[in-house]
Structures are given as structure tokens and as C-alpha cells.
């Protein structure tokens, strides 16, 4: 229960999920811990029930962006008066990129696992990743996927340039950018209309005037129907913090 809560919210009720012993810190929210644990059992150990209970709670549905005073009162967010800002983990990031580019292949449920690092690209959901324990692709390591060789209480959360290199230069990143870019290059609408549509597709919102001006300038220098320019622009939006973090 604690693991599910921690994965969803970014805060574990007991901060050492693999150690509930005497050497772990006692939980602040003992009542919430007990309530969820007991109800989890009462609902037949249903993980589905547990996730639903957590994500429909008022605690979960808070925003992360609070006033500086609020932030000062509890910088660690131990009392959970706001939501943690969460970075998409590797699987969620990859699926989101594919989804934004309309490439995500969720036609089949189940089936054989697929090698996400293979040269022949696959667009299946990341949950189907083939994991070779002996030859764990560096891609997973780069993005903090837990080692299959050893117990991991939590995933690490590092920010390193190798992650940026993958998102900037990998064939996967190119493919995703291209899938979006080609569509907007071959489009009869005005540049502004297309920029609005692109922003909606990637960020689910319309651009501010300032953003419109920036994006306009970026596309116009190459030509409004240039597939490469639109691909590069799409890629830029996907690289941003707005795309990768959930507020």
C-alpha cells in the first residue's frame, strides 16, 4: 500500500518502503496509513480499488504550485498540503512522447515483450519492454529504471546530460518529432492556426502571445511548409519541462 501511495504521489507515508522496522522513521500520517491498509484488505487486496481511492482523494487532486509562504511552511511537503511536482519516469515519458505524436501502438493487450532499444523501432507501450538482466540496455540505466539484478526500494531520480542526449539525438526522438512535424508542414491552415493546434496537441493548451511570436519566428526562418522546421519545433516542445513535469 505504501509503495502504491508513494509511486502515485511522490511522497511515501513511510519513507523507507523496504524497511518498516525500528530503524525507520515513524509515519506522520499514521491514520491515513492504517485506514488505507485496513480498507485495502477489506476490499480483497484490490490494487485497483487502492489506486482509485488514492487518486480520487482531495490530497491527490491538489496542485503543486503554491504560494511561497505555503512552501516555506513545509518545504519537504511532509504534511501534504500540496501535490509534489513529479517528473515522468522513463516509461511514462516514452509513452507520452509516442502518444503526443499519435504513434503509440496500443492495439494489442498482452503478447510478447519487445526490445525498446532495438534498431527496428517499436511503438508498443513501455510496459511491454523486454528486460535482459545480463545485458541491461544503457538507455534504461540512463533514465533510472531500477536494476533487475538487485532489490530497489525506490527508483532514483537523477538529471544527467545522457538523458538530454537521448531526447535530442536518438533515432527515436527524431521519429517522434517527424511524426508530428510532417503533419503540420503539409497543412493548408495559416501558421498561427497550425501553431495553436500544435500547442494543443502537445501541451493541451493554446500558446500565449509571447510563445506564438517565438514559435512563429522559429518556423518562419526555415519556411512555413518545411517539414524539418516543424519537426524540430515539435521536438523542442517535447523536450521542455512543461511536457516532462506534472504540476
Amino acid at each position: 500500500m505504501n509503495r502504491v501511495f508513494g509511486r502515485l504521489t511522490g511522497t511515501y507515508l513511510v519513507d523507507t518502503p523496504s524497511d518498516f522496522g525500528l530503524r525507520s522513521e515513524p509515519p506522520i500520517h499514521q491514520m491515513a496509513l492504517d485506514y488505507l491498509a485496513v480498507e485495502f484488505i477489506n476490499h480483497g487486496w484490490s490494487t485497483k480499488w487502492l489506486i482509485k481511492e488514492i487518486v480520487t482523494s482531495a490530497t491527490y487532486r491538489q496542485v503543486s504550485n503554491v504560494s511561497a509562504e505555503m512552501y516555506e511552511l513545509d518545504p519537504e511537503n511532509r504534511w501534504m498540503a500540496r501535490m509534489n511536482r513529479r517528473r515522468l519516469d522513463f516509461e511514462a515519458m516514452r509513452d507520452s512522447l509516442l502518444w503526443a505524436a499519435n504513434l503509440l501502438d496500443d492495439s494489442e493487450t498482452g503478447g510478447k515483450s519487445v526490445d525498446l532499444a532495438d534498431k527496428r523501432m517499436t511503438f508498443r507501450r513501455s510496459i511491454y519492454a523486454y528486460i535482459d538482466r545480463q545485458n541491461f540496455p544503457s538507455l534504461y540505466r540512463t533514465f533510472d529504471v531500477a536494476s533487475p539484478d538487485t532489490h530497489a526500494p525506490k527508483r532514483f531520480d537523477t538529471t544527467v546530460p545522457q538523458q538530454a542526449l537521448f531526447l535530442l539525438n536518438s533515432p527515436f526522438a527524431k521519429e517522434v518529432g517527424l511524426a508530428i512535424g510532417q503533419r503540420y508542414a503539409n497543412d493548408t491552415r495559416s501558421v498561427d492556426q497550425r501553431l495553436d493546434a500544435l500547442m494543443k496537441q502537445v501541451y493541451s493548451r493554446t500558446p500565449t502571445d509571447q510563445e506564438s511570436a517565438w514559435l512563429h519566428e522559429f518556423v518562419e526562418t526555415a519556411g512555413a511548409n518545411d517539414a524539418k522546421a516543424w519537426s524540430r519545433l515539435a521536438q523542442t516542445l517535447l523536450l521542455s519541462n512543461e511536457f516532462l513535469f506534472v504540476d
Binding site: A68, P75, E76, H151, T159, A164, S170, R232, N241
Partner: protein, 479 residues
């Protein structure tokens, strides 16, 4: 590093800093035992690889580990045994020790030994260039390990644990020290043509964050985009990518402006700038053609020369730990035809290793760079007997030997021109001043400025370390 320092938020608690940097209690413990206020700032700056000071002033800042995987024979390289000539072809007066396979009569070295330098350290004829550098080398002839098999011995040599998953020495050191150059990987493992036996576990980070794992480079390749994944952009030139990043950072700044002072966001902004610079710096570091002809001539031809020269270029640029494997699989594992094979293998790397030691010295880098040479174990002084399916009928090779073997170290605070420890009269077992692999690790960490009992990481309810509950520093080999 400076670009990271500005990102430290004042409003964050110590606890949150640790969480957000992806480090656990272990690093907190480390920061405390280091007594370095700066360590906290480094963690706060969100760079788990920012350079950090060790426990005390280090002798060495970098390591080049020349890994002769497969197990080079000590009695044919740095530990001459005249008694083997006397008993050649007959039974040893001692009982053969148990190794992986059955061995028979004494087997003399097919090579001649000569003494070199002021120290007069004897070296086999197959390492003539390395022999020129003996006065800078400390030859440890009394190494010993636990079992006569490659896989556990490789893990023991690299991770201090033969069976369970534990971080490698390079991972421990980059965890403890960070790196001096954020534009290159901190820990590089080079092996031409594929992985050694036990594969990437040799440079694994185990329970430490993935960023401390060694970056594997297949040095059979020469093109930079084949050496490092995603290092080149194939559809945008440098200026186009800069324009793209400029737009990205404008969007990111606007995004951050309306949010609280969150170092996660700033760290990611910086990671793109680092990546942009890494593209250029890495291309430069791995391109040996930028060396002068005289340097290239000194190192000689071939892939060993190229990767050993790359190792020097990497430590010169601040890379912390460079491991240079001789080749895929286990090239030095000469169960048969040892005379031909050891001569060939030594020829492939001898000139470049000699050139490396001289080159580091002339650049003033040898003092701060610890060069380590050796395999996962040595080989038997007795001949391996025929066995169905392997060396049937050849009877001209040696089996694995973990009871006694030789490693040497140079530079980085070790006492040059010395021989430490000894094997018995035949080279079977280390008998004098025995040095276990754990002791070697303790000594290496000491040279890098760490008390090996204090460089710990809390995992699964207790503090772990490279040497676990073992290891004694060998003071006699320190300069």
C-alpha cells in the same frame, strides 16, 4: 561545476535536497563523515557527479585500470621461477594445488627474464617496453583471490563480492568523488569488440544510482557516433541545434518563472546545456588523430594502442576512472598454446602500456594517476592436463590460479621500483606478505583519499562498502 552552483535553492531542507538529488541516506552519512560543508552544496546543486573532496588529501585523482581479462600467467611475466626449469616435466616436490582443472608436471616459462632499471626488477621478454618503466612500478607478487573461476573472480576484482550484486570500484569512486569534467562520463569502461565475461556487471553500479555505472565504449569502433550513444545529431547541424536549444530554454524559463524555486526544473535546463557541450568535448576526447605523430608512434599501431591513448586523453580531461579491457571474452585465458598466445597478447599491449607510463610521467600526470595492471587471477606453474572437449592432447598451457598471482601498480602514490610479497618457490601460492583482493581495494581507496571503512552507502538496512567487512591497507607499498 559553476553552472550548477547557481541552482542551489536556499529554501530547501537538507532532507529534500538529498531526495531530489536521487541520493539516499548513504550520501548524507558520507557528507557528514567527510565533514565537508561543500558536499551538501554539491548535492543541492543537483549534480550527483559534481567533484567532491574525499576523507583526506588523496595521492591519486584518477585511475587507469588495464584489465588483462582471462588471467595472465605471473610466472611468465613478472614473477620468474627458476625452480620450474629444474623440475620441468617432472612432478613438483609439493602437491599441486586444486584449481579449476587437473594439472600435471612442472612447466617452465618459455620466456627469458632480465632485470631492468635501477631497481633491477625482473621482467619477461614479452614485455620489453613495460620493462623500461619498472622504477615507477610496484609489483605485487603475493595477490590471492577466492576461487579459480572467471566469473566470481571478475566480480571479486571489480566489485569486491564474487556472487551478489554490488557496486564496482569505479562506481564507488565516482559516488565518493564525483568527476572533474561534467562534459564527459565519470567512469568509462573500454573493451574492443564486445563485452568481457560477466559483461556489464563488471562496471555495474548495483544499488547506487545508475549514473555511477561505467559507460561502456566499444573501442573497436573509431567513429565518435559509434563510440558513444546519441552523441551526434544526424538531422541538425550545430547552429540549428543551438537555435533549438535557445527556444527550449526560453520556454523553460517562462515555465519556471511562474513556479516556485524548484531545483528539479533548473537542473533539467542545465542538463541540456551540458549535453550540448558534451557533444563537442566527447568527440575531441576520443579522437586520437588529434595527437602528434610522435605520440602516435610512441603508442604504436593497433586497437590496444588506440584505447590506451584514449585512456590518457580521458584522465587528462578529468575522467575519474578508466578501465581498459584487453578484449571481448577472455583473451588471456591460455589453457593451451600459452607460449604463442601470451607472446601475441603481450605484443598487442606492451608498447602502448610503456608509452602510457612515460607519457603520463612527462606530462606530470603520473603522480596523480594510479595505473593498475592485472587480471582476475594468475595461472598455474604446472601444465594443464588434457580434458575432453577443451585442450585435448595439447599439454602446453596453464590452468587458472587464484592461490597466488601478480598485479602491478604505478604512479598515484605507490612506491615505484619495488617488489612486494612473494609466491612459493614455484609460483603456486602467495606465501609472503599476502595481499587479498580486498586488501588491494582498501589500498586503492586509500590512495584516492578514502578510509575504506567509511566510504559507505546505506542499503537494505545496513551500511555497505566496497570491502564489506574485509580489507587492510598495505602500507609498505605507499610512497
Amino acid at each position: 561545476m559553476s553552472q550548477w552552483e547557481s541552482t542551489a535553492g536556499n529554501s530547501l531542507s537538507r532532507r529534500q535536497l538529498l531526495q531530489r538529488s536521487g541520493m539516499g541516506l548513504g550520501s548524507l552519512a558520507m557528507a557528514e563523515c567527510l565533514g565537508v560543508r561543500g558536499a551538501q552544496a554539491d548535492i543541492a546543486s543537483q549534480s550527483p557527479l559534481a567533484a567532491r573532496a574525499p576523507h583526506f588529501a588523496p595521492k591519486a585523482k584518477h585511475i587507469i585500470h588495464l584489465f588483462m581479462n582471462g588471467g595472465p600467467s605471473h610466472v611468465d611475466t613478472f614473477d620468474p621461477k627458476p625452480a620450474l626449469d629444474k623440475y620441468h616435466g617432472t612432478e613438483l616436490p609439493m602437491k599441486n594445488l586444486r584449481t579449476e582443472r587437473k594439472t600435471g608436471a612442472a612447466f617452465r616459462s618459455p620466456y627469458k627474464f632480465n632485470q631492468f632499471g635501477e631497481s633491477g626488477i625482473p621482467v619477461s621478454e614479452i614485455f620489453p617496453h613495460v620493462a623500461q618503466c619498472v622504477d615507477d612500478m610496484c609489483v605485487i607478487r603475493s595477490m590471492h583471490a577466492d576461487v579459480p573461476n572467471h566469473e566470481p573472480s571478475l566480480l571479486l576484482m571489480n566489485c569486491g563480492q564474487a556472487r551478489l550484486v554490488r557496486p564496482s570500484m569505479g562506481s564507488w569512486l565516482t559516488y565518493g568523488l564525483g568527476t572533474e569534467n561534467q562534459n564527459l562520463p565519470a567512469f568509462v569502461a573500454m573493451c574492443p569488440g564486445g563485452y568481457p565475461i560477466q559483461e556489464s556487471q563488471n562496471w555495474q553500479s548495483g544499488f547506487l544510482p545508475g549514473i555511477y555505472q561505467g559507460t561502456y565504449i566499444d573501442t573497436k569502433n573509431t567513429r565518435i557516433d559509434r563510440l558513444i550513444e546519441n552523441i551526434r545529431n544526424k538531422w541538425q547541424d550545430h547552429d540549428q541545434q543551438r537555435t533549438q536549444l535557445d527556444l527550449l530554454q526560453k520556454l523553460n524559463r517562462q515555465h519556471a518563472a511562474v513556479r516556485d524555486d524548484d531545483p528539479q526544473l533548473e537542473a533539467r535546463v542545465q542538463s541540456f546545456e551540458l549535453a550540448f557541450r558534451m557533444q563537442m568535448e566527447a568527440a575531441d576526447a576520443f579522437d586520437v588523430s588529434r595527437e602528434s605523430q610522435s605520440v602516435l608512434d610512441a603508442y604504436g599501431p593497433g586497437v590496444q594502442a588506440r584505447q590506451i591513448l584514449i585512456a590518457r586523453r580521458l584522465v587528462e580531461r578529468g575522467v575519474r576512472f578508466v578501465q581498459v579491457w584487453h578484449g571481448a571474452g577472455q583473451p588471456w585465458d591460455n589453457h593451451d598454446d600459452i607460449e604463442v598466445n601470451h607472446r601475441r597478447l603481450a605484443k598487442e599491449c606492451d608498447q602502448a602500456i610503456g608509452a602510457l607510463l612515460k607519457d603520463l610521467k612527462s606530462r606530470g600526470l603520473l603522480d596523480e594517476t594510479l595505473v593498475i595492471w592485472g587480471g582476475e587471477f594468475g595461472r598455474t606453474p604446472t601444465v594443464e592436463l588434457p580434458k575432453k572437449g577443451s585442450n585435448a592432447g595439447k599439454i602446453n598451457g596453464r590452468d587458472h590460479n587464484h592461490h597466488g598471482f601478480t598485479m602491478w601498480m604505478a604512479g598515484g602514490g605507490v612506491k615505484g621500483g619495488t617488489i612486494f610479497g612473494a609466491t612459493d618457490d614455484f609460483g603456486f601460492r602467495a606465501v609472503e606478505n599476502r595481499v587479498h583482493v580486498h586488501d588491494l581495494h582498501a589500498t586503492i581507496l586509500h590512495l584516492m583519499g578514502f578510509d575504506h571503512t567509511q566510504l559507505t552507502y546505506r542499503y537494505a538496512g545496513r551500511d555497505f562498502r566496497l570491502t564489506d567487512v574485509h580489507g587492510q591497507v598495505v602500507p609498505e607499498i605507499l610512497a
